[in-house]
């Protein structure tokens, strides 16, 4: 096993790791060595083809089909240079003050988070898309939402030179999204931070070294070979930052022989999501243009958020209930389909947690509470109202039996869409906002880290990703992850003289 020594090792290169890497460049300028380990590959610009299965298998863990232990929901998270910022839609919202106050994390100040968030909004070129770039799938949501009595808001997005491919979730083929792979990581590398891809952190040892396995580029795989030869490495460091996402960071700490707080793994939330589909009498522009430009936020009142969306053939087919002729008929109506992504604002509950199996692989336990199901049902009803108000002739919802509602049934939405049709294992639920597992808090008795991401009792070990969230954020999380990671990096710069020597 080869040994390479660094001052700081950052595990993960997404919204958290990429932000920390850039923020620590003053250390590099002062002669310190900073390393980023990324499990996934570094893709060349022309390797983003927008082909659904090809890109999903290259970018997502388990091709996007990582299953919960109960087998009732899939979790989507990316392994790539830039982490999940490669596959998000670039929607850029700051955390609601109500949520941050509700977290009650001692020392975490909303004004501080907002100030840091705004810095990254500027750095990532966040703005509202011009009206002429909005497609009909989005415009129908605006019109239908207004007619149905909802407050529809436009998403600020972090794109530069967006051509409207609609393929954001497969990695932008035009490099328009300003993820950490486009902004923070290249800046960090230019300043001297080293990034090693295809490098999986196996465990962190009590002597502060990270044991790493570097894999060869597989035959037929995308991306550049790793910067290091394949094999196992020991990387001693003075400061270690876990930024591998809620599942990655939590699983890494669980399989590391460290005296971590007992709440490690708990507090997992994920905004369980449903793709809802409606058919219009005519073709609309749906698979061209930025897919996610508007939203309706009912989190505080009804525990759901609705967002415009447009997915790919397999993802859409999977999201629809049932099978056979009715299912095929909806698929053949693709050019006439309007879609809404419904996110339930779930709460941290004792049973929902991240664990590892005997091989050290992550296992996510997730049960749907009545509150979460209520959010899904309420959001399904609201979506149906918006669809019909926008002129849809039929609406598909998994919370109705049969799942198709005709326009004539628009007045019976509350009766037809009901939680009595929610049956785990027969509804296609997925989640991409994975949060918690290394939650912030006041002490080791109730949390894993303090509000600066310092693991209780281990001042050399930091966490800087969505695993810090002690509960659901209730909005798209990347800006808040960056703000928290920026705060974690500030804490490291503050503590560097003592910890780095």
């Amino acid at each position: 096993m080869s040994t390479y020594t660094y001052d700081v090792v950052i595990i993960g290169s997404g919204a958290g790791g990429g932000t920390v890497a850039q923020a620590l460049t003053p250390l590099v300028k002062g002669g310190r060595r900073v390393l980023v380990l990324e499990r996934g590959p570094r893709l060349a610009d022309d390797e983003f083809t927008g082909r659904e299965l090809e890109m999903a298998s290259q970018l997502y863990a388990d091709g996007g089909g990582f299953l919960t232990a109960e087998g009732t929901m899939t979790l989507a998270f990316a392994h790539a240079y830039g982490g999940s910022t490669v596959v998000y839609t670039g929607t850029s919202l700051t955390a609601p003050e109500r949520v941050i106050r509700g977290w009650s994390v001692p020392g975490l100040d909303y004004a501080d988070l907002l100030r840091r968030s705004q810095r990254y909004l500027r750095e990532n070129n966040v703005h509202l898309l011009e009206p002429e770039r909005i497609n009909e799938n989005n415009r129908l949501f605006v019109d239908g939402g207004a007619r149905a009595g909802y407050r529809v808001e436009q998403f600020p997005v972090n794109v530069t030179g967006c051509r409207g491919s609609s393929l954001c979730n497969l990695g932008c083929p035009n490099q328009a999204k300003q993820g950490t792979n486009r902004v923070q990581l290249p800046a960090a590398e230019r300043a001297g931070v080293e990034v090693v891809t295809r490098a999986e952190a196996l465990r962190i040892e009590p002597d502060r070294s990270v044991v790493v396995r570097v894999r060869e580029k597989p035959d037929g795989g995308k991306g550049l070979p790793s910067e290091w030869e394949s094999g196992e490495y020991r990387v001693p460091a003075k400061l270690v930052v876990c930024a591998g996402g809620a599942i990655g960071s939590t699983a890494l700490l669980l399989r590391s022989p460290l005296p971590t707080p007992h709440s490690l793994g708990s507090g997992f939330t994920c905004h369980p999501a449903l793709i809802l589909v409606a058919e219009h009498p005519r073709a609309i522009t749906n698979d061209v243009g930025h897919p996610k430009s508007y939203f309706v936020d009912r989190a505080a009142e009804e525990a759901f958020v609705l967002e415009t969306c447009m997915y790919f053939p397999f993802t859409t087919a999977k999201a629809l209930s049932g099978f056979g002729a009715d299912h095929s008929a909806i698929m053949h109506a693709f050019p006439r389909l309007q879609m809404i992504l419904l996110l339930a604002c779930d709460r941290a509950t004792p049973g929902n947690r991240i664990a590892v199996d005997r091989a050290g692989q992550p296992v996510v336990h997730y049960h749907f509470t009545r509150g979460t199901v209520g959010g899904l049902v309420g959001g399904s009803r609201a979506s149906a109202r918006i669809f019909f108000a926008a002129g849809a002739v039929r609406v598909h919802t998994p919370f109705a039996d049969p799942p198709l509602l005709e326009q004539a049934e628009a007045s019976q939405i509350d009766e037809r869409i009901s939680e009595r049709y929610f049956r785990e294992g027969s509804v296609s639920l997925s989640a991409a906002h994975l949060m918690g597992g290394c939650c912030m808090g006041g002490s080791a008795a109730d949390s894993v880290t303090d509000s600066w991401g310092v693991v209780h009792g281990l001042p050399w070990l930091r966490v800087a990703d969505a695993s810090l969230f002690p509960d659901s954020l209730e909005i798209n999380p990347y800006v808040t992850i960056m703000a928290l990671a920026d705060r974690v990096a500030d804490g490291m710069l503050r503590d560097a003289p003592a910890l780095l020597g």
Partner: protein
């Protein structure tokens, strides 16, 4: 993995996606190749469970109709799978949901499926529509 289960798998696929009945030999090879590749990286236990499920779905109809699933007419195939999909047992529903997902992956994951359903997303975005 599907080699000795092919008749049962194809009958299930044609029931889940009726359009699959129009697939030629090359089309089936494409569908099954996608499914095999997706399963290759999954744990062996999951692959075993899936084989068991396909076998069970092929033979269970014998109890109801005196015929294997692949020997049933489309109406009875549909009726049988609806019963499985709506099973009171979560384990059964989960198993069927997983199999259905794999079939949809194989069918709609083919590049040709996009054209069949009118999906036209293009890397060039708006420019491709002008």
């Amino acid at each position: 993995m599907l080699e000795d289960l092919r008749p049962g798998f194809r009958a299930l696929a044609q029931t889940v996606v009726p359009d699959a009945s129009r697939l030629d030999a090359a089309g089936w090879t494409e569908v099954e190749g996608i499914v095999e590749r997706a399963l290759a990286s999954r744990p062996p236990a999951l692959r075993r469970q899936l084989r068991l499920l396909i076998r069970a779905l092929e033979w269970l109809p014998f109890l109801y109709y005196g015929k294997r699933f692949s020997a049933l007419d489309p109406v009875r195939r549909n009726r049988f799978l609806l019963r499985i999909q709506d099973s009171p047992l979560r384990l059964v529903r989960r198993g069927f949901w997983g199999l259905r997902t794999l079939i949809l992956l194989g069918y709609y994951g083919r590049p040709g499926a996009a054209a069949e359903i009118g999906y036209r997303a293009d890397s060039r975005g708006w420019e491709a529509r002008r």
